[in-house]
Each structure stands twice: as structure tokens, then as C-alpha cells.
């Protein structure tokens, strides 16, 4: 079976999966002519990393920053609230 993910802009480092993707499968990235191997199980419509993303790097979707990596993310990994965080409305920590 061929698994698919959809990427909206050339600048993006994530794509949305169109199927539930088991670990270790080939995933064809539509609009990017690229195939990557999933390094986690990824739920349908969730995000997959298109390259290695260092901790602190921006996550780009539709050419727009949607948050920051809180740890190093492998190519083909599931990207979600466990490894990225919003840059907006961040609460100030009282020192």
C-alpha cells in the first residue's frame, strides 16, 4: 500500500497525512515529489516531519510558522503537541 501526505508550500517542513501511517512505511509527499519513511505511527490527517528539525527550529506549514520544536525531530516523525509548542500568547513566568 502507498501512503500519502499533503504539503501545501515549498517552504514547509511538515505535511498532513491522508491515511493512518504505520511505522517504517514509505510515504509519498504530494506536491513535493518526495518519498520519506515514517519513523512513528502517525494518525490520519496529523503531521509528518519532512526533514530533520533541530530543537528550537520553526515548524512551517503553508509557508507560515505554526510553532517551535521543543526537541530534535527526526525525518518522518509524528509532529504534534509532544514535540512542538505555539509561539503565541505565551505566559510570562514570574521570576
Amino acid at each position: 500500500m502507498k501512503f500519502l501526505a499533503l504539503c501545501s508550500s515549498n517552504k514547509d517542513n511538515v505535511a498532513n497525512t491522508l491515511d493512518l501511517i504505520p511505522i517504517g512505511q514509505q510515504v509519498e509527499i504530494k506536491n513535493k515529489k518526495k518519498t520519506i519513511i515514517s519513523s512513528n505511527k502517525i494518525p490520519k490527517y496529523h503531521k509528518i516531519a519532512l526533514n530533520e528539525i533541530p530543537k528550537g527550529a520553526s515548524i512551517i506549514k503553508n509557508g507560515i510558522c505554526i510553532g517551535t520544536a521543543t526537541k530534535e525531530i527526526d525525518i518522518g516523525a509524528h509532529i504534534h503537541v509532544h514535540n512542538i509548542v505555539s509561539n503565541r500568547a505565551v505566559l510570562k513566568v514570574e521570576s
Binding site: 491522508l18 503553508n62 505554526i66 500568547a89
Partner: protein
């Protein structure tokens, strides 16, 4: 050309429904108003549950929204219910100015006897309905449409497929000379620069940025972590990670037109084109802001399913999620999930435009058939 059949109102606006609106203006009479509503078929009830103690912005906006709702073009006539005559004065003034049929009943008028009030109000409501039911429909072009766009319980299919499709319809309405309104200010967070670039003037640009920063500050000042609120837990479960990601998918509903300005909650746009409304994101409050602004119809996308609809504006529920379209087939009016497999936006746009024109002309939405509708007026502060 795309045209629809509607009801021409005395003020030149066009309604797509011809409702009797029972507008209850005081909390004391809300039960009375509900009993009147139950006794008149084809009536819609909106109840404002508060009294005289509203202050400043809250007072001003609620008054404007009550006027806005009563003047919505889908309303053929209005039955005003209140405990106190003074509450209805400003609404009456506008109803007269716009030549909209109405009757006004207040508790003091019937010796403070609610049963007498119900009796009298049913008779008067019946008279208005008889009168407005004679209005004949005519054909109109899409320049008479004020479309509002909303999303609720989004998942990634909303931002990738359903909302871009709605954006194409938004562009079509604006090109045709109509009005489009998009609200949910919090969901401009992260894309405010892109929205601001589309503003018609530097003033509007500044206003867009200010509205977003003000709402972001509200969250910070109140110690609220948006993760779990917006995006909410269900959005996160379905794959949306941050407010920025949600905002990209949400704001695309506005299409690509220039932004004419930013409206206050419930404010009526002064000219045609695309408008933003600075408003809360919660669907019931958001949709009522649009109804008050004079929108006759709403395109409402959902990912996992959202059962809400406006009472005054027929609300076309759209999903691109095939599981939701199948599971909630008596909730979802428009299934565009084949976009996921064929990516054919042109075909999907024609199909949605056809459906929109049908609903404008009288085809019922599930929200209307099943009575899912409501109107909830936002509050903006403490009362005396």
C-alpha cells in the same frame, strides 16, 4: 448568471427567509416570550436575558445587536416583548425608519399580567405573520448577498480542503458585489500580518493588528494557556497542534479579496466587499454577531462535526472529512470530502455555489429542519 429568489424589504435589503421574529428584550419576560413562541407556528424567538443595569460598551453593543437582529433581512416582521417600555424605544425607532412591520407589547401595558400578555401577543404576532406572508418573492443577483463564514470543531481537513473551498465562494460573492464577513479574532493569531497586507488602507491594517494583539494580551493577562482552549482538546486530538496552525486553516475562509475594514461585534458593514469582525470565537456568539450585521446566510465548516446553527441565518454545514460526512449525514448539508482524493477545487466550487444558490432560494438546511438554531448575544462586562 447566478440568481436567487428572495424577499425585497422596504430598506432595499433582500431576505432569503420571511420569519416573524419574537424579540424578547428583558429577562423578566423570557418565559412569557417562550410561551408566545410556542403558540405561533413559523415564529423565531430571540431572548435577551438581561435588564437595565448594563454599562458603557456592553450597553451600547447589546442595544446595537438587538436593533441589528430585528433588521436582519430574513426577518419579515417583529413582535417586541419586554417588561419595560423604555427597553424597546431604540429598536422601535429603527424599525419605523426601515418600515419593518412590528408590534410592541410590554408588561406594564397589560396591568403586569403575564397571561394577558401572552393572549394579546399571540393575536398580534398572528396578525404580523398574516401580513408578511403575502410578500411575494423576486429574483436577485448575488450582489444582494451578505455571506458570513465560520468554522467549528475543525480538524486538519477543514484547513486543507473545506475552508479553502469556502474561500473561493467568498471571493465569488465579493466579485459579484456582495458582502462577506469573517469573525473569530483569536483565529487570526499568527496570520495577522498576512491579513493586514490585504487591508484597503493603513488604518485598517493597524486595526487588524491591534485587534489580534489585544485578544492575545487578554489571554496572557488572564493567565490562560491557549493550548486546550483554542485549539481545544478535540482539535488537538484530531491533529491541530497550535493556534497558529488553526488560524492558517481558519482564515483561508476569507478568500483572497482586499479587506474593507474591521467591524465591532454585530456591526453592519457600510459597503460591499470583505469585512472582518472583531468577535469571540465561540460559534453561538460568533454567528449572532453575523446575524446582527445583516448576514442572510452562513457557510459553516466542521471537521469532527458541530451541530450548531444560527436561528436567523440558514447555516450550511460543510465537511471535507469523509467519516464525519457519513457518520453525521443528517447534520452535514454539504459533503466536499471528494476533494481529498481528486483535489478538483473548480468542480467543488461549482457544486457548493449551486448548493448556496439553492439555499438562498429556499432549500432548507438541516439546522432549520431539526431546529438546531439559536442566537446568543455576547456580553462585554459587569452590570449594575
Amino acid at each position: 448568471m447566478d440568481s436567487f429568489s428572495g424577499y425585497l424589504r422596504q430598506n432595499g435589503k433582500v431576505g432569503i427567509r420571511n420569519d416573524l421574529l419574537i424579540l424578547n428584550l428583558t429577562g423578566l419576560t423570557s418565559k412569557v416570550a417562550d410561551r408566545i413562541h410556542q403558540n405561533i407556528n413559523y415564529s423565531k424567538l430571540i431572548s435577551f436575558e438581561y435588564g437595565m443595569g448594563l454599562l458603557s460598551k456592553d450597553k451600547e453593543i447589546s442595544q446595537n445587536v438587538l436593533i441589528g437582529l430585528s433588521l436582519n433581512p430574513n426577518v419579515g416582521g417583529v413582535l417586541l416583548i419586554s417588561s419595560d417600555q423604555s427597553r424597546s424605544e431604540t429598536v422601535i425607532e429603527q424599525l419605523k425608519k426601515n418600515n419593518k412591520p412590528f408590534r410592541n407589547i410590554f408588561l406594564g401595558d397589560v396591568g403586569s399580567d403575564p397571561l394577558e400578555m401572552i393572549n394579546k401577543a399571540i393575536k398580534q404576532g398572528a396578525e404580523i405573520l398574516k401580513e408578511i406572508s403575502e410578500i411575494k418573492k423576486n429574483q436577485f443577483r448575488l450582489d444582494k448577498v451578505c455571506l458570513s463564514v465560520e468554522c467549528g470543531l475543525s480538524d486538519p481537513t477543514s484547513g486543507l480542503f473545506a475552508n479553502p473551498l469556502i474561500g473561493k465562494i467568498s471571493d465569488k460573492i465579493v466579485e459579484s458585489g456582495g458582502i462577506v464577513i469573517m469573525g473569530e479574532t483569536l483565529e487570526w493569531l499568527g496570520v495577522e500580518n498576512d491579513l493586514a497586507k490585504r487591508a484597503v488602507s493603513s488604518d485598517v491594517q493597524k486595526r487588524i493588528e491591534e485587534c489580534v494583539l489585544r485578544r492575545e494580551k487578554l489571554a496572557i493577562d488572564n493567565g490562560i494557556n491557549l493550548s486546550g482552549i483554542n485549539p481545544n482538546k478535540k482539535n488537538i486530538e484530531d491533529g491541530l497542534s497550535t493556534i497558529e496552525e488553526k488560524a492558517i486553516g481558519s482564515s483561508i475562509k476569507s478568500g483572497s479579496s482586499k479587506i474593507e475594514g474591521v467591524l465591532e461585534y454585530g456591526e453592519v458593514p457600510k459597503k460591499s466587499g470583505l469585512w472582518l469582525m472583531d468577535a469571540p470565537s465561540y460559534t453561538p456568539e460568533s454567528l449572532t454577531g453575523f446575524s446582527s450585521a445583516g448576514s442572510q446566510i452562513c457557510l459553516f465548516s466542521t471537521g469532527s462535526g458541530n451541530c450548531y446553527s444560527s436561528d436567523l441565518m440558514p447555516t450550511i454545514r460543510i465537511t471535507a472529512n469523509p467519516e464525519t460526512a457519513f457518520r453525521l449525514r443528517h447534520q452535514i448539508d454539504h459533503d466536499c470530502s471528494d476533494l481529498i482524493t481528486n483535489g478538483n477545487f473548480e468542480q467543488a466550487e461549482n457544486k457548493l455555489l449551486d448548493d448556496l444558490v439553492s439555499v438562498l432560494s429556499g432549500k432548507l438546511c438541516y439546522g432549520e429542519i431539526l431546529g438546531d438554531g439559536g442566537e446568543t448575544i455576547s456580553r462585554f462586562g459587569e452590570a449594575l
